[in-house]
């Protein structure tokens, strides 16, 4: 069922060979008969919609999940990794999709976990620190390795995870959506690194939803759909439209963004107004106003304070000066629940820690915000819940066998959609999205932007922080540029372009 398009004549035997691999979870056939081969020195893109089985393939490959059937050969030897540590020892180094580090350990401890150097049988932290600094330098990070990991933003944590994967002597490197929250600079740095490793003969599997990245770095592409391998192609020979139709089963034309009008209707009055809102050591005071129908983007480099702006605007962090108004309400003294009741919504950046409640079902996760704003004593009836959830599952094409499955068992992108849906069903007056399309496939990306635009046309205001400038340019009416925790400028209307934003950041 899978047709192989081999690259340049196979001279050497493949570095990694996967043959007829299958895996099922209760109710889901996540992988069925997947086969592929990777040579050393090859960068392979692994593409597919959310829930196509990419992460599962990687986890089966590295022994996190036992496989139902199939063979895996590394350097011609059949391997059967018992767990991730075993896979590492076999020479497969992996960065899994969510940031999977230990939040309570320091950056240094995370980087050297299981690979510490010893003096007289005891770990030498001096050596560890030197090594940690070297690893961080490889990914271009200059941070204090002794600080606890979770004091750093999710993007930095992502880079630390990549640095860690480089610390092992591996033949294969697997990166599952490593660029989801990275900025262009970091991505460039990562790609340089990948090229270097490629030159050293390492085989790399790279999962992403950004087609630009696929075309700029990979040699070949394997597409998965519904757990089946659709095919492997040479990157240079595959057009974007073909690629998308392989992935989605639709053609690219349907997905092409409609021309966007950057102009704002001036006559509308402010929905959200931040007057001189700031917090010491957190965010410099700033002014911002969003009218109904406005889409305001927040751009900036890593650690520039985008997330902080979102948190202050939402009220999950209380400012120590200034006033926040939503419509006729002053939110400064409001509890989050009151704020939500009068129309606030916030989709946080760190989906694992701040977004999903992993144990609860998709349905419960989705209605949580609406239910919380109504209070516990006026429950949404089960049939209403099912109606709302069913509708959202349809509209956002959320891939789940049923709505009572624990959300933790969904694929990353589908979790993100559920969190988005959670806020959409509250019909917020103002929605704040921090990296909303993290890990979402292009088909869904398109749908979501469409939905957001519609909502704004109906009068919702939107504040979006995103490291994807392309995305901001695509739909924002205004872009706030952040730098070093203060607002440096606000781009309006026709001034919005990727170059303009980059220029402002650099200035």
């Amino acid at each position: 069922m899978s047709n192989f398009v081999e690259g340049a004549q196979v001279v050497t035997r493949p570095l990694l060979k996967i043959d007829n691999l299958s895996k099922s979870f209760t109710g889901v056939q996540a992988l069925s008969g997947v086969s592929l081969q990777i040579k050393s020195g090859e960068i392979r893109a692994l593409l597919g919609e959310n829930g196509a089985g990419k992460s599962t393939l990687i986890k089966v490959l590295t022994g996190v999940y036992p496989r139902d059937g199939g063979d895996i050969l590394l350097d011609g030897n059949a391997i059967n990794a018992a767990d991730s540590g075993h896979a590492q020892r076999l020479g497969i180094s992996t960065v899994y999709q969510e940031v999977n580090l230990i939040p309570t350990l320091s950056v240094m401890e995370n980087l050297t976990l299981q690979h510490q150097e010893k003096v007289f049988g005891l770990i030498s932290w001096k050596k560890a620190e030197i090594r940690a600094k070297a690893l961080l330098a490889q990914v271009g990070l200059d941070i204090d390795p002794l600080r606890q990991l979770d004091t750093y933003s999710i993007a930095i944590q992502q880079l630390v995870a990549i640095a860690r994967a480089l610390s092992t002597q591996a033949k294969m490197l697997i990166l599952d959506e490593p660029t989801a929250s990275l900025d262009s600079d970091e991505i460039k740095q990562l790609f340089d690194l990948m090229r270097r490793l490629k030159a050293e003969g390492m085989g790399i599997i790279f999962v992403t939803h950004f087609l630009d990245q696929v075309y700029s770095i990979t040699d070949s592409i394997t597409v998965l759909r519904n757990g089946e391998c659709i095919g492997t192609f040479n990157t240079a020979e595959l057009t974007r439209s073909d690629l998308v139709s392989h992935m989605v089963g639709k053609s690219l034309e349907e997905l092409a963004p409609s021309a966007h009008d950057h102009s704002i209707q001036r006559e509308r009055k402010a929905l959200l107004a931040l007057n001189n809102v700031g917090k010491q050591r957190y965010l410099q005071p700033l002014n911002l106003s969003i009218a109904a129908g406005d889409i305001v983007g927040v751009a900036g480099l890593l650690g520039s304070g985008r997330t902080e702006l979102c948190e202050l605007a939402y009220g999950s962090v209380k400012p120590d000066q200034g006033e926040i108004r939503l419509g006729k309400h002053s939110l400064t003294k409001f509890s989050l629940r009151r704020a939500i009741q009068v129309g606030m919504g916030y989709c946080p950046e760190d989906r694992k820690q701040d977004g999903i409640v992993a144990e609860l079902s998709v349905r419960e996760n989705m209605i949580l915000a609406l239910q919380a704003s109504r209070g516990w004593w006026s429950p949404i009836s089960l049939s209403d819940q099912q109606g709302l959830v069913e509708d959202m599952i349809q509209r956002l094409a959320i891939k789940t066998p049923d709505m009572d499955k624990p959300i933790g068992e969904l694929s990353g992108g589908n979790q993100q959609k559920v969190i988005l849906a959670r806020w959409l069903i509250t019909h917020p007056a103002l929605l704040i999205l921090d990296e909303p399309t993290r890990g979402i496939d292009i088909g869904a990306h398109h749908d979501i932007i469409q939905i957001i635009k519609e909502l704004c046309e109906q009068g919702m205001g939107l504040l979006v922080a995103s490291s994807e400038l392309e995305e901001l340019v695509m739909f924002a009416h205004r872009v706030v540029v952040m730098k070093d925790h203060h607002k440096v400028s606000e781009l309006l209307g026709e001034d919005i372009s990727e170059q303009a934003i980059l220029r402002t950041i650099a200035s």
């Binding site: 075993h86 896979a87 309570t104 976990l113 299981q114």
Partner: protein, 322 residues
């Protein structure tokens, strides 16, 4: 610059010093070194148990069986020495092996059958106490010259105080505990497991093996504590050390370790146990509290010092920030 992660320990240390200062100021005889060395000797078995417990709690688990293990090991030792005529050194060796064995079994059940540590060790708590009853219902003396000799070892310090064998053994085990926690791969695996067991598995930490080792280690430390308790009292008693598991947990937590795992230090546990000991000592020195006021005072002081410790941490953080 104070490292933020050491803050709870420093706060605990400060609380301990404040308490000690209060005792010296308030009570006759408190300034004597004897009071301090008594603290070391009298709390040795609790500290040893709590060190093992620290590893368990750091990994996000809990071990309720330690108190019963102390009693069981004591009774077992007495049986081997008195009834089987084994040499105490030999008996101690076997007793420690038995402790490690039972710890390992609990670890296997927790790791392999994925049953929560709380109930597995609760069953262990019943089981060990029950086994102790089966060996011997009554309290029996362990009168062997070797044990006597151990309990007579005494290194005098200035003043009336001095280090007993028990205190020194405890200090050695403390140092070993600190090194294992911070300077071995196993120790770091324990921290990783407690921080996020799911991620730890993905980072290549051998989760199952580490869990088994953790409970084996806790078994070793509580068996060691049983041996120390037997030497301390020169006897074995199946009802010994009832409720010690809670004291040990409290010591660990007062020492700054998070019960959810991943954060904390073995040395903090030592301080936590010493704070509990000194509360007891202060109450005894005072000697005017009746039975129910004693309980209220123990609870109240515990609360007071936890709040004080929290206050110090918050205050320092504020100072550092502002």
């Amino acid at each position: 610059m104070i490292n933020e992660r050491n803050l709870p320990i420093l706060a605990t240390l400060l609380v301990f010093i404040l308490l000690y200062g209060f005792g010296v100021y308030e009570y006759r005889g408190f300034r004597d070194t004897l009071v301090f060395t008594n603290l070391l000797t009298d709390n040795a078995f609790l500290i040893i148990t709590a060190i093992g417990m620290t590893f368990v709690i750091l990994s996000g688990g809990i071990d309720l069986s330690v108190g019963s293990m102390i009693a069981f090991i004591g009774v077992l030792m007495a049986y081997m020495i008195s009834s089987m005529g084994l040499h105490p050194a030999f008996a101690i060796g076997i007793a420690l092996l038995v402790g490690v064995f039972f710890g390992t079994i609990m670890g296997v059940i927790i790791a392999f059958f994925e049953i929560q540590a709380f109930i597995v060790t609760l069953a262990g708590m019943f089981l060990f106490r029950g086994l102790a009853y089966l060996i011997n219902l009554d309290a029996v003396p362990i009168s062997h010259p070797f044990i006597m000799a151990l309990s007579d070892i005494y290194v005098p310090l200035p003043g009336r105080g001095g280090l007993t064998f028990i205190a020194m053994a405890m200090l050695v085990l403390l140092v070993i505990g600190i090194l294992v926690a911070r300077r071995t791969r196993f120790g770091m695996s324990v921290y990783a497991l407690g921080g996020d067991s799911h991620s730890a598995a993905l980072l290549g930490v051998p989760v199952g093996k580490t869990i088994i080792k953790i409970y084996a280690l806790s078994g070793f430390y509580s068996a060691m504590s049983g041996v120390i308790f037997a030497i301390y009292t020169g006897s074995a008693y199946p009802l010994a050390a009832v409720g010690v598991e809670l004291d040990a947990i409290a010591a660990v937590v007062i020492g700054g370790t998070l019960l959810t795992g991943g954060v904390g230090y073995v040395f903090g546990t030592f301080l936590g146990a010493m704070i509990q000991g000194i509360i007891q000592t202060l109450i005894t020195f005072d000697g005017s509290l009746n039975s129910w006021w004693t309980k209220l005072a123990v609870g109240g002081l515990l609360l007071f010092f936890i709040l004080l410790q929290k206050g110090i941490v918050v205050w320092v953080k504020k100072r550092a920030a502002g």
